[in-house]
Amino acid sequence: MIITLVKKQTGHEFIREMEETYNSISELEKLFERTNNMKMYVDLENWRYYRDNLDEEIELTESLVTNKLSLSDLDLIILNTIKHEKPRSIRDLANKINKDVSNVQPKVKRLEEEGFIKFEAGAKNSKIPYLTFDEIKLEI
């Protein structure tokens, strides 16, 4: 089974991501010279291209070939709720789907480990879950 996570972003957002990762294009140039990391070389090429094409839309996909992944009904409800109801914490997510937070916590952790969701810092040490993609495609 091939699972593909699809995310759309603009050139402007891509550059913001690059700045968060590398600070500046000159920092990345220096880093590449030091490490010869080919992924950095490609990031550099893309960054140079996007400086002049800020409004272009990019489709980012992440494909995974696996026979191990299984998404339960609860996993799908969690993903759907995160996408559409934007919970402010895991507890808020549990409340929105009428489940105990102790049952939701391990599910959320596994979805994070599998790359479906990420967290950003919220109020009072809470973690705000968000989806890392816009679509999931499954190929069998």
Binding site: N36, Y41, V42, E59, S63
Partner: protein, 91 residues
């Protein structure tokens, strides 16, 4: 309009990054740090030695999707990664 596409493929412990822009395309195999691209010159080439980025070997296959499929087939079939073996398949 989507003009640029970036993909990340996970095969076992390898990650293959692909990127396309009107300026060219690239495939990076990590953590082996191998780059195949057609940036700056029209011909497709592989950088077989990450420590010598200027060293390029031309490959005859020109189509990015076909090259990607060859790499995936190689990684799925092999227990270890040998850039020389891969280059033979791409020549």
């Amino acid at each position: 309009m989507t003009r640029k596409i970036q993909n990340k493929h996970r095969i076992g412990d390898k990650l293959i990054y692909t990127a396309k822009t009107p300026n060219g395309w690239s495939i990076v195999i990590m953590p082996d740090n191998i780059l195949i691209d057609n940036y700056h010159i029209d011909r497709v080439h592989i950088h077989p030695d990450p420590k010598k980025h200027v060293h390029k070997v031309e490959i005859s296959q020109l189509d990015m999707e076909k090259i990607l499929e060859t790499i995936k087939d190689y990684l799925n079939a092999s227990n270890s990664f040998d850039v020389e073996e891969l280059m033979e398949m791409l020549k």
